[in-house]
Assembly symmetry: C3
Homo-oligomer: 307 residues x 3
Amino acid sequence: MKLADIAQSLNGELIGDGTIEIANIASLENATTTDISLILERKFIGLAAQSKAIAFITTAPMDDLPNQVVVSNGRKVMAQCIELLHPTEPITQAIHSSAVIHPEAQIANPVMIGPNVVVGKGCSIGRDTVIHANTVLVENVVIGERCVLHTGVKLGADGFGYYEEEGKWKHVPHIGRVVIGNDVEIGANSCIDRGCLGDTVIEDGVIMDNLVHVAHNCRIGTNSAIAGLTAISGSVTIGSNVQVGGQAGFSNHLKVGDGSIVMAKSGVTKSFPPNSIVSGFPARPHAEQQRKEAALRQMIRKKTKAQ
Amino acid sequence: MKLADIAQSLNGELIGDGTIEIANIASLENATTTDISLILERKFIGLAAQSKAIAFITTAPMDDLPNQVVVSNGRKVMAQCIELLHPTEPITQAIHSSAVIHPEAQIANPVMIGPNVVVGKGCSIGRDTVIHANTVLVENVVIGERCVLHTGVKLGADGFGYYEEEGKWKHVPHIGRVVIGNDVEIGANSCIDRGCLGDTVIEDGVIMDNLVHVAHNCRIGTNSAIAGLTAISGSVTIGSNVQVGGQAGFSNHLKVGDGSIVMAKSGVTKSFPPNSIVSGFPARPHAEQQRKEAALRQMIRKKTKAQ
Amino acid sequence: MKLADIAQSLNGELIGDGTIEIANIASLENATTTDISLILERKFIGLAAQSKAIAFITTAPMDDLPNQVVVSNGRKVMAQCIELLHPTEPITQAIHSSAVIHPEAQIANPVMIGPNVVVGKGCSIGRDTVIHANTVLVENVVIGERCVLHTGVKLGADGFGYYEEEGKWKHVPHIGRVVIGNDVEIGANSCIDRGCLGDTVIEDGVIMDNLVHVAHNCRIGTNSAIAGLTAISGSVTIGSNVQVGGQAGFSNHLKVGDGSIVMAKSGVTKSFPPNSIVSGFPARPHAEQQRKEAALRQMIRKKTKAQ
């Protein structure tokens, strides 16, 4: 593919020689002399100088690089450029022979279901959804369209619900569902438990990283993003467009409003209104935490000086 | 089923019309006009008013609800009521054809073993135990009766034990077992490593949430409860009736006494006697932590005011 | 095997009766009257006194124990002694019939591949590597020689990379690889995502515990050790011989220099030079953290006294 064609496809400004043939897209370190690479932040200019790439996608013209395609939205263009040079195969009906699918499960067409996937009783899967190897839908799991469940995801196990009787734990049977909307992506080895009576709901467009735990009866609103190793306890409601950092934790029965940001490693123990930015454990508004931290630092400095 | 029959089965007090036919049990939000629902805490009275349910299980008579069954132990009754309307199928011998079971493994009858389960050499499984899909018992795993291993559980892998030689890590071979008692429940994708020389022991009645890590040579006492994403390092001994919150961590070779509570996100770095309540990192008695927190808050407030 | 032979094999000093027949090696608690056990630290002398073992491996002569083999490197000798009495079977070509291997994957000989393992397109596996049951290599995963992937490991899933468009998350396609060196060991249910353009690289001799998350484009240097439930965000570079405690977290795009120690539950938010020892969240040099803690404790004590 010629560099000029790439520039045109990406709606970018061409600088340099448009007739160069581009074989592939690669990272700055790995690029060979027939590759295009990306430099989305000026701080990587040093790496670019050492790169063997023959052309670069940039977000502003850079002086020392010969052949550039200058674009406005770097990450989007990266995705487009990868797609251009490595077109994703269209989804066609492909259910691996080793998958174990309950006879009454409703499977749309086309879907892709990988090896050793298990789809239990009462499950349904919408069209254009991809389920990677060794993922399990235990029971009563409803999945929308265009979802991606990465390898090892576990949906629909009974939640951690018990009552005590004579010093022993007795399990509360779970009859609810896991309901996953459209365009949801769930990371490897993440687990979402079914509701006890009601449903555990993951709304449209939610993205979830690896090894995330979502307990019974939770609801996560549209387009929210949950980073790795986060633990969400039972009956938590997270609004739409919420961003949750890695290893955050949530006590049960609380609500986090739309558009909020929960920073990494936060421990959320109470509800927060929309557009909150919270951090720490117990989680509090981030600005307040920073004031406390600053006051504390000052006190310690003074104390240390005084000694 | 008539409401009066339900009231009688649950040993509850009937208020209203006992002749109503109840089709199902459902959450307040999901209930239709033939369903019974539950309102176990008065704060949910608002939701109950909006619910379409025709009858309610309550823990005290509530003025505005027409048909009620008033009971004393809400969660127990919820479990009983689910069981009444959705009876659990009795466990019958059912080993899925895709399960891979070592020829010398000892499997009691009845047990239920799901698809893609792997049961390795030297394993045994007690009667009435249920093992969900894609769970693996690597080697030398002994499981008692009436246990539930949820989907993706991994038991009996070698632990994280090494010695250093010339700057390289050398693995210490593991020959111990994982020994799981009776009535134990282990959450999805949790991992319990086998002992190095001795055993990793999970005693009767322990319940464990999703994505929990138990390292080699640990012992967890009867009826203890471990919440999600907790990490327990090697040779830790947790007593009986201990409750551990989510994302807690334990350094190796320590003991936590019977009846203790380890709060969520605690980092336990030393042993604690029975009936301790600990929080924070490093974990300390919770009352002490709260005093410190209060003193700190006061100092910061004073400081901030002074400025 | 005679105790004298064991002493000779382990290059240890024999104390007591070398003619005793040793049947097995066992922990102090589990040993029977024909077993040898270990007491590697003097604090376990009480347990040793109660043990039924007939002989002990010690790191210094102990007065009250009859038959001893005194050695210098306890953990190494434990490994050797286990190997002596429970020789590991040599690795022979053994690919379980239920494994699903892409026809173009390159599999060396000998390797051991357990049940329900999935090896996708573009993968290769070096000789003497062992892959335990239900592990998945999604795509473009290159594994060196003498590695051990424990049960449930997930390598090569697409990373958590998105751009936002009209309030929705759009996935960036991933075309990079996961490249694992030689002598690497990865714990049960750990996940390592493939690079986006470049590679996610785990260098020779790295050891990783259970339920660890390594995001796209990370690099972990030779002989580093990562404990359980640690979360490493995208494009993090960890040097050689680094030790990371359990439940640590790393923000993206940072570097931790060779020989550093990142203590358990640390939250690393910026880069650190070689040989750093860091703790806390945000992680700072451990000595500095301890000084702050001490100053804080003193202020609180004074305050509490004053009241």
